[in-house]
């Protein structure tokens, strides 16, 4: 349940991010979105819970921005951030829940 709530709020943030993108300069918006995604990604790495998909989406975001496709790049960065946050939520939940599977 906790994960779903977190994800719903993340999706809301993502939609809000897209709305503001139309107003500010696209490169600035990308940099902001990318910085947030990178911060979440670094936290996931530190917790040893990073997902390969987060890494892939981050790289794809950077590539799209380099090609000048900022709308796409921002969407990708936001996806990476959502994935990183979901991986962090997973790790936190597993700190207690891993014991359920133990054979006794």
């Amino acid at each position: 349940m906790r994960v779903r709530t977190l994800i719903n709020s993340l999706a809301a943030v993502a939609v809000a991010g897209l709305a503001t993108a139309a107003v500010a300069g696209p490169a600035d918006d990308f940099n902001a979105a990318y910085a947030e995604a990178e911060a979440a990604s670094k936290q996931a790495v530190a917790m040893k819970t990073q997902w390969t998909t987060t890494v892939a989406e981050l790289a794809a975001a950077k590539k799209a921005a380099d090609a000048g496709k900022y709308d796409e790049a921002i969407a990708l960065a936001q996806k990476a951030e959502a994935l990183a946050n979901a991986s962090i939520a997973q790790a936190k939940e597993q700190q207690a829940d891993w014991r359920q599977g133990v054979i006794r």
Binding site: V3, L83, Q90, R99, I103
Partner: protein, 280 residues
């Protein structure tokens, strides 16, 4: 994005929230329960046969395996390992000088807990320690040379029974528990633990492959995988397992990987060495 995240959400919701107190863990009791889980679930499989992984559970696979074992593709790696093992370092010493019994027939004693460093030492780490003590550069933990050396050492130990010691040392106990936690912790975007595949789903088909049971899974290492077309180390297996569930792997022979090998090898105590193994 939504679709992928919803998948995760659904899995997370499906998980129950019961957290058990595990302060009073007795590894010997756990190992017994671990073994009983598999022998109860697969009553037709003899205990020793679990070291043959998926081939103990599926007739069609077993037939193909037997055909491949008639002239196994890992023979080249074993021969290469044997040659490397006997070739002196620049200082004239050999691998045999670093090990008891000159390194022959000792696979079943690895990994072990080293009271000096307070860490788990796997055979792969011991081989690199041997190299470095003799002024040689360490080998890649995921490379063909390490796979060949460990394949040879396993080959000379075939049939010997695993004898993993858990000394009365809180650090050894902690390593065991960290390995256990790693084994049961869900990770990666697919939200799988090692146990998801190799305990709960052992013997099941994923597409048309059969998942190996966790009991005795270390006994076949290193393994020649048809998928790789080559011999691969324990590190190669663990890192690819992580990638397959979309988790970024740890560094090869990371402390946690060594701990999980320690845990799994302890669970398989008494089972015979079957490595090097051939696997799909």
């Amino acid at each position: 994005m939504l679709r992928e995240i919803l998948v995760l959400g659904a899995i997370a919701v499906g998980a129950a929230q019961t957290a058990l107190a595990a302060d009073t863990v007795d590894p010997a009791v756990e190992a017994k329960a671990f073994r009983a889980y598999f022998t109860d679930r697969f009553p037709k499989v003899t205990l020793d046969d679990f070291v043959n992984g998926p081939y103990s559970m599926d007739e069609g696979l077993r037939k193909q395996w037997k055909e491949i074992e008639e002239f196994p593709p890992y023979e080249f790696a074993v021969d290469k390992g044997k040659e490397m093992f006997a070739t002196p370092f620049a200082n004239g010493k050999t691998y045999g000088d670093c090990f008891s019994e000159r390194g022959v027939g000792i696979r079943q004693n690895y990994p072990y807990f080293d009271p000096k460093s307070g860490q788990v030492i796997t055979l792969d780490v011991a081989l690199n320690q041997c190299r470095e003590a003799n002024g040689e550069k360490p080998l890649s933990f995921t490379g063909d040379d390490m796979a060949a050396l460990t394949a040879y050492m396993a080959y000379t130990s075939r049939g010997k029974r695993f004898d993993i010691k858990l000394p009365d040392d809180p650090r050894a106990r902690a390593a065991y528990q960290k390995g256990e936690e790693y084994f049961y912790t869900r990770r990666g975007q697919l939200n799988f633990s090692c146990a998801s595949c190799h305990v709960q789903s052992a013997g099941n088909h994923i597409r048309t492959e059969v998942l190996a049971p966790a009991l005795g899974i270390m006994a076949a290492m290193p393994i020649y995988r048809s998928e790789w077309g080559s011999m691969g180390t324990v590190s190669r297996r663990l890192t690819t397992c992580n990638s397959q569930v979309r988790a970024v792997p740890l560094a090869p022979e990371d402390e946690l990987y060594r701990d999980v090998e320690y845990f799994l090898s302890y669970m398989g105590n008494g089972l015979p060495v079957s490595g090097p193994g051939a696997r799909p």
